[in-house]
């Protein structure tokens, strides 16, 4: 067994590209080893630092044996040229080619003898090919070379069994040396194995293995913050990125002037975390503190690095403070009319127009939600004003949230400032969903207004493109309804919204819009159910509705059935329904006009009477529960029909000789199915 070790040295490769390159390189190598039956003991490791992409395999077979193989050439009647070509392409002579009959005719053959191949030769030959197959998400050229790489590739070190493997890759030639100073690329050093390479860099404080680097960083962060009685939040993506942009991490505890803590915390966090890649800290009560951690890529004996980073934060925060002080005192209400100057979308008016529509939609919703009409109208009026502030210009991801802070600073009711703050949420599938009634009302109105508008001007998403994020908006709408356990009369709201557009001079085809938008929202509902791990057959059956006011019901029914379908009563419901509906289905052609009304006067026995009574009980159940339906209870109620149904099928022949009796029995089964369909149509559910 031998060692294989490859290092690709380049200028600094960005974090995401490193992650991708590691993944792709691993895949390509695995495929190559598999195809060539090269066996590996131990791990196939791929490491990276900003400048180095490394492959290391500690045990790889030295030689591989290839079995002998007969290769078929041209037909013996083919031209001489074909034969010559065959001989040439197999690197052999005419004398070694033989004729052989097959069931397709007689052909020339060549036999490759079994052979032992040096793995090193195979690697040498194939590595350039493997490297050029790495597909970068983003790549570049430099100088006058033709190679595309994540950033300029400078050297290739390749060692097998302690000896260098020679090959060419574009303008580069492999060797057993690499640059040891990433800054100026002046010093090189040769390595004959990974161990010496790894320990050499370790002695410089450089951790080659990204996993070791990551755990070093997170351990240090936790250790240092515990020492200071602080808390850090190790967000996965930030930790990953920070790990990939350093090679010798050094954690520095820094601080900024406490006076900046008056700035909204989201601004402080984004500034530190997203812009500067720092780790903010929190105290026991989850309040942000003025301490933060910097993961530097160098030691800091003179304290320049700490001081410098602190100054950067101070400069950024003093900028933010300047804007915060200015913006929070700019009267929100007085600015509303300025929204006339900002176009919302061509054909959908200005933001002022949008706000007027949202205000009226909120008015309508407020009746249903039993919230103050006056307050929700104020919240609607001011909810977009922050778009004109300097701070949202600087931190566009904080739109809404900053408006909430401005409203709070200007003394608006907490309910109003919360509603402004949360009205963009939820954003798609993953973010939090507002739960406070004013926030919910504003969020729903804003989203519905946008959906109606874009569908109205025929800019609904295509299968591949959704430039205005309407899918996300509709998913958010579905989440607002379901996760607040609150039904909304969406159809009425859509009609009203269309009317509001009309009042502003834009008329839509309301009927068509209702249809298109309903279908669109139902599709998103299906996605939502899928995300919640609901079975596909249940999703297809439950969403087969035309009224989108019932989104919440659909969700609850799906959830209840999904949860209980494997239980006895769940199975009973399905089998009762299917047994009955299958008979109806097979009789459909002979008896097309079954409508579901049996005549008790035609019953011949108690089995029919008992089933009839049971159906009545079910109907009564559904008409009495109304809105307070407990869906698990409903399923149990349906399953109670099991005895009557079984007795009926065991003792009664539906296919009676008397066509009147037969029809009446079919009617009875239809009645049963219909009563079950108060829940939904179970015919497509698989038992």
């Amino acid at each position: 067994m031998s060692e294989f070790f490859l290092e690709l040295f380049s200028e600094e490769i960005p974090s995401k590209l490193q992650v991708n390159a590691r993944k792709r390189l691993l895949e390509k190598l695995k495929n190559f080893f598999q195809e060539n039956e090269i066996s590996i003991k131990g791990n196939l490791n791929v490491f990276s630092t900003p400048n180095r992409l490394i492959v290391y395999i500690d045990k790889i077979t030295k030689k591989i044996s290839k079995k002998s193989q007969e290769i078929r050439g041209p037909n013996i009647n083919a031209s001489d040229k074909a034969l010559e070509g065959f001989v040439r392409s197999n690197n052999t002579t005419k004398s070694k080619v033989f004729k052989k009959k097959t069931n397709k005719g007689e052909f020339y053959f060549f036999k490759i003898p079994s052979q032992k191949i040096n793995t090193s030769d195979l690697l040498k030959e194939n590595i350039p090919n493997i490297l050029s197959k790495i597909s970068w998400n983003k790549s570049m050229k430099w100088n006058d070379y033709n190679l595309y790489w994540g950033r300029p590739l400078k050297s290739i070190l390749c060692v097998f069994d302690g000896k260098k493997l020679d090959f060419n890759f574009y303008h580069l030639k492999s060797s057993n040396t690499t640059f040891i100073d990433k800054e100026t690329e002046e010093k090189t050093k040769s390595f004959s194995n990974f161990k010496s390479y790894n320990s050499y860099f370790k002695s410089l404080g450089i951790l080659i293995d990204q996993e070791k680097r990551k755990s070093f960083i997170s351990n240090e962060l936790i250790k240092l913050s515990n020492k200071k009685k602080l808390k850090v939040k190790l967000k996965k993506e930030i930790l990953e990125e920070v790990t990939n942009i350093v090679e010798k991490p050094k954690i520095l505890l820094c601080e900024f002037d406490e006076k900046y803590l008056i700035i909204p915390r989201e601004i402080l966090i984004i500034t530190m975390q997203n812009h500067q890649k720092y780790f903010p800290t929190f105290d026991k009560k989850e309040n942000l503190t003025n301490n933060f951690f910097v993961v530097a890529d160098t030691i800091d004996p003179k304290g320049f690095v700490k001081l410098g980073n602190e100054r950067v934060v101070e400069a950024r925060l003093s900028d933010a403070e300047f804007f915060w002080k200015r913006n929070k005192s700019q009267n929100l209400v007085k600015q509303v009319s300025k929204l006339k100057n900002i176009n919302y979308f061509k054909g959908l008016g200005s933001y002022f127009d949008k706000v007027q529509r949202i205000r009226k939609l909120c008015g309508l919703i407020s009746d249903e939600m039993l919230i103050s009409k006056e307050k929700i109208e104020i919240a609607s009026s001011i909810c977009k004003v922050d778009l004109m502030s300097d701070l949202v210009g600087e931190f566009p991801e904080l739109q809404g949230i900053l408006g909430g802070y401005f409203a709070e600073a200007q003394g608006f009711d907490k309910e109003i400032s919360n509603a402004v703050s949360e009205h963009y949420f939820p954003i798609g599938m993953d973010s939090i969903t507002p739960k406070k009634p004013y926030s919910v009302a504003l969020s729903i109105s804003d989203k519905l207004d946008s959906l109606v508008g874009f569908f109205g001007i025929k800019l609904k998403p295509t299968s591949s493109k959704d430039p205005y994020a309407l899918r996300r908006m509709a998913i958010s709408l579905v989440r607002l309804i379901i996760e607040n356990n609150k039904s909304f009369k969406l159809r009425d709201l859509i009609n009203y919204s269309c009317m509001l557009y009309k009042e502003q001079g834009t008329e839509f085809d309301t009927k068509l819009l209702q249809k298109d938008l309903s279908e669109f929202i139902l599709e998103r509902l299906k996605n939502y159910l899928k995300e919640k791990q609901i079975r596909n057959d249940i999703i297809e059956s439950s969403t087969n509705i035309s009224n989108i006011d019932e989104i919440l019901k659909v969700f609850k029914k799906s959830l209840a059935l999904n949860k209980n379908i494997k239980k006895d009563f769940g199975q009973d419901v399905i089998s009762i329904y299917k047994r009955s509906s299958n008979i109806l289905f097979s009789e459909k052609q002979n008896s097309p006009d079954i409508i579901g009304s049996a005549d008790p006067g035609l019953f011949k026995n108690d089995f029919e009477k008992n089933l009839y009574k049971r159906i009545h009980d079910i109907r009564k159940y559904f008409s009495s529960i109304g809105k307070s339906e407990n869906y698990e209870e409903s399923l149990k109620e349906l399953s109670l029909a099991k005895n009557e149904v079984n007795e009926f099928f065991d003792n009664v022949v539906v296919n009676d000789v008397d066509p009147v009796i037969k029809k009446n029995r079919l009617e009875l089964l239809k009645m049963l199915c219909k009563s079950f369909e108060n829940y939904f149509n179970f015919s497509k559910i698989e038992a």
């Binding site: 100088n143 800054e183 100026t184 690329e185 690095v305 410098g308 950067v312």
Partner: protein, 293 residues
């Protein structure tokens, strides 16, 4: 910050000394030292010595200061970090040399930043200019968390694939000097050793131009001027004179920026204006390239 021990008897470089030191350094590397282009531009990249010279096969090395105007960034001299007019120091080398990182690090040593004592990082920052039809890959260079330089390998310019590739280094001179001189406010920068500060030179200008850009620029006229300039550019393109046509492009671009600062360009219009300028740039890039053969 400058190393205090090594240079204890030496004051940090003034603003003008920084410029002189960079010019001297890049001059030694064989760069043609040019003077600023004499039209309003948004960045050093717009200087024809970068845009046009980055096209085609002829090798080219240049360095120059370029006053850059960003009307929307004006803050009436109220903000310690924002200016509507500031200086960039621009270096362009074609083809990109393989020791460019070393050349860059030595250049910051030349202005008093010992890179071994600081945390110098190359952080992903790819660049795109819709008006120039240009794109490149590279980094922003951080010194202790502060962005001091943009570093870009041009891949495309004026809609044309670059071959060979140029590398562009752009220093934000005010930022860099604030770092060297340890200043929190740009207006406190020491311009020379005779007691002149940045404020003495630019305070009034920042105030007045902010007012012009945000309040007083006559937008009706500017819209008309834009159209006139666009016509002029088109007619020059037809006559196949690339450099004067490119000047018109720069003028149009600046007028667009003022209109943008005045807040009179809607989202839809914005895209339209940008595409107008880009189409001109593309035609000019093609012309210029043809003229090089």
């Amino acid at each position: 910050m400058v190393s205090k021990k090594k240079k204890s008897n030496k004051e940090p470089l003034t603003f003008q000394e920084t410029i002189l030191a960079l010019q001297k350094y890049w001059s030694k590397q064989g760069c043609v030292i040019l003077q600023p282009y004499d039209l309003e531009v948004g960045a050093g990249t717009f200087h024809p010595a970068t845009t046009l010279r980055s096209l085609g096969a002829k090798p080219w090395k240049t360095a120059y200061v370029q006053p850059s105007r960003r009307p929307t960034d004006g803050r009436y001299a109220d903000n310690p970090n924002r200016l509507q007019h500031y200086y960039q120091f621009q270096v362009l080398i074609k083809p990109s040399p393989s020791n460019i990182k070393k050349l860059f690090l030595n250049s910051i040593s030349a202005i008093g930043i010992n890179y071994n004592e600081h945390d110098i990082r190359f952080i992903e920052d790819d660049w795109e200019s819709p008006t120039l039809g240009a794109a490149g890959l590279g980094w922003e260079v951080w010194c202790n968390g502060m962005e001091i330089t943009q570093f870009t390998y041009f891949q495309q310019m004026a809609g044309i694939e670059c071959k060979p590739i140029s590398v562009e280094i752009t220093y934000g001179l005010e930022r860099l000097c604030m770092f060297i001189q340890n200043k929190k406010n740009v207006f406190d920068l020491i311009w020379n050793n005779d007691g002149i500060s940045y404020k003495d030179v630019f305070y009034q200008s920042e105030k007045e131009f902010s007012a012009y850009n945000f309040e007083y620029a006559n937008t009706d006229n500017l819209f008309k001027i834009f159209d006139m300039i666009e016509q002029e550019a088109k007619s020059l393109i037809e006559k196949k004179i690339s450099l004067p046509a490119y000047d018109q492009c720069l003028k149009a671009s600046h007028i667009f920026n003022i209109l943008d600062a005045r807040g009179v360009i809607s989202v839809a219009q914005r895209a339209e204006y940008i595409s107008k300028i880009r189409e001109l740039t593309k035609a000019i890039g093609k012309l210029w390239l043809e003229s090089q053969n």
